[in-house]
Symmetry: C2
Subunit: 320 residues, 2 copies
């Protein structure tokens, strides 16, 4: 099981997009910029900064341009924006975003609910976006939402998922994300799908996007690691979820993920102590306790001093 684990794992931080988009209050632009700059300095080599959507659709991200323009672009970090259509793509191109993330749901009904388009229409749009970006340095990532289950339709056929990956790659997309939009994935299902994808496309860059809705976020990471997957989306403090997916809450928490990976001996290049400090700051920003657990309990390596009474008992029993 552990023999197949990749030794180096990449973490893609999504808090300023997936986390902030559904907050009840607008997070100030300056706060977003500062957080993104700090996260890049902590070693997160990919950050989903914002979304170039209509400010009417997601008012919380109405400052997308200003945020993208004002952050300090670390050369070791890939800065990503979610883009729902050609207009969003044009905005991303103007700001020379490193990568855009295109999203379609595997399930027809969820894509209609989320994007107001059929899957076929989404793919046609991706074709046009690929044409718009041809010859630029901007990379295209394609996300497959509801890949592990749709809240309306339930499980999705593996064939359908593989077919859509094909469709993405035919259109020139560079990488894909398999997203468990509403937290329906279970470990053996994750392992099966990851293995099928790896067998067919051994070199494809694949990111896994899990939610902890039913408590299985990190278990699903474990299953994906066992299938050799080495890129994971996560959100600082576990903030976020999809505002259009009923009952969907809780991206997996970045610091809990990094803690697990490090304690299993895998490298991420991310500074865990720094993340924990930023997670505390984030709880203050959003004004509430966050789902992340390592922030509350501390890393497992953080032992506590012996209570005085136990010290005395140790001495009585000749134990030091």
């Amino acid at each position: 099981m552990f023999a197949q684990f990749p030794q180096q794992v990449w973490v893609n931080e999504v808090v300023t997009r997936d986390g902030f988009q559904s907050e009840p209050e607008f997070v100030p632009t300056e706060t977003k910029i500062e957080l993104i700059n700090k996260l890049a300095r902590l070693g997160l080599n990919k950050i989903e900064v914002t979304s170039f959507v209509s400010p009417r659709a997601i008012p919380n991200l109405r400052d997308a341009e200003e945020v993208m323009r004002s952050i300090t672009r670390d050369t070791d970090t890939r800065y990503v924006a979610l883009v729902p259509n050609e207009k969003g793509c044009a905005r991303a191109l103007e700001l020379a975003v490193d990568e855009i993330n295109l999203v379609m749901s595997v399930s027809q009904s969820h894509n209609l609910a989320n994007m107001r388009m059929t899957c076929e229409q989404s793919l046609q749009q991706f074709t046009r976006i690929a044409e718009m970006t041809a010859g630029t340095a901007m990379r295209l990532n394609g996300s497959l939402a509801t890949a592990f289950g749709c809240p309306f339709e339930g499980s999705q056929a593996q064939e359908r998922i593989l077919h859509f990956i094909d469709a993405y790659l035919e259109r020139g997309l560079h990488s894909i994300t398999l997203a468990d939009t509403t937290g329906m994935a279970v470990p053996n299902q994750v392992h099966d799908l990851c293995q099928a994808v790896r067998e067919r496309w051994p070199e494809l860059e694949v990111t896994m996007h899990f939610h902890n809705t039913r408590g299985l976020g990190l278990s699903n990471v474990l299953a994906a690691l066992a299938a050799g997957m080495n890129q994971y989306d996560a959100s600082l403090g576990g903030l976020g979820g999809c505002p259009f997916a009923p009952g969907a809450t809780g991206n997996i928490c970045t610091e809990d993920l990094v803690h697990m990976l490090h304690e299993m001996g895998l490298s991420t290049g991310v500074n865990l102590d720094g993340l924990l400090a930023q997670s505390s700051a984030l709880a203050f920003i959003v004004g509430r306790d966050l789902p992340g657990q390592v922030g509350k309990a501390g890393p497992r390596t953080l032992t506590r001093p012996l209570p005085e009474s136990v010290k005395q008992l140790m001495q009585q029993h000749g134990q030091n």
Copy 2:
């Protein structure tokens, strides 16, 4: 990874002991009895009912005798009591408890903090308890607390753990529990220890006891399953933790565990819908929201009706 999974998994419910012992308010005796009877009827074949401790040490379990005497003893369920000493053992014998659970920490300092005894003294006591119970039908389970790390001393040597299992078995204990008392276990460590135990004692009955303190409870179950372990402690709603272990919170949640196991195709014999109903009732009993997540999100198989607007879009696009 999944090929090694046992097809049948046994769940040991600990909520009325591990959960209720650290509640701020005393849970009424009648409520405890009713809950235990309901849990047995839901297919939980092992229930840790209470603890025969001093009522001064744990006032919440001062009704241990009355609870044990008044429950309806289902013949398919094994009723267990935690016992800290000979006096507790005598009380358990009087009530013909099916099994007693003896606890010692692997770490010397934690055993002194928790039991006010050295490990050697604990083992001597287990010898006397084994003598007291010889020839009775009462089974003896020995728990090894802090098996995956001590909050004072950190990691514990695997040799020390194996040595103590030997010591338990020499004294005639019938089964063991490997307990992650303060939620320090990580999956590869769990897998290593379980494999070492299984190799040396292929037939030994071993229960895994995990806490979700750092978000890794179900991931650790997955790792233990991959090593063939088929018995798990869990607490309804995720209630509980060790009152003597600093920062220790959150047994893994029974309904989240059962949900994961069933969705991976493993059998538990437990009625998940019934558990979810009891978990809701439990939140009402303790007067607060519980950590369990499937209770909030619903099982992954519970799909939602299509919103009217999406139905209309489906029709427009000729999709049914």
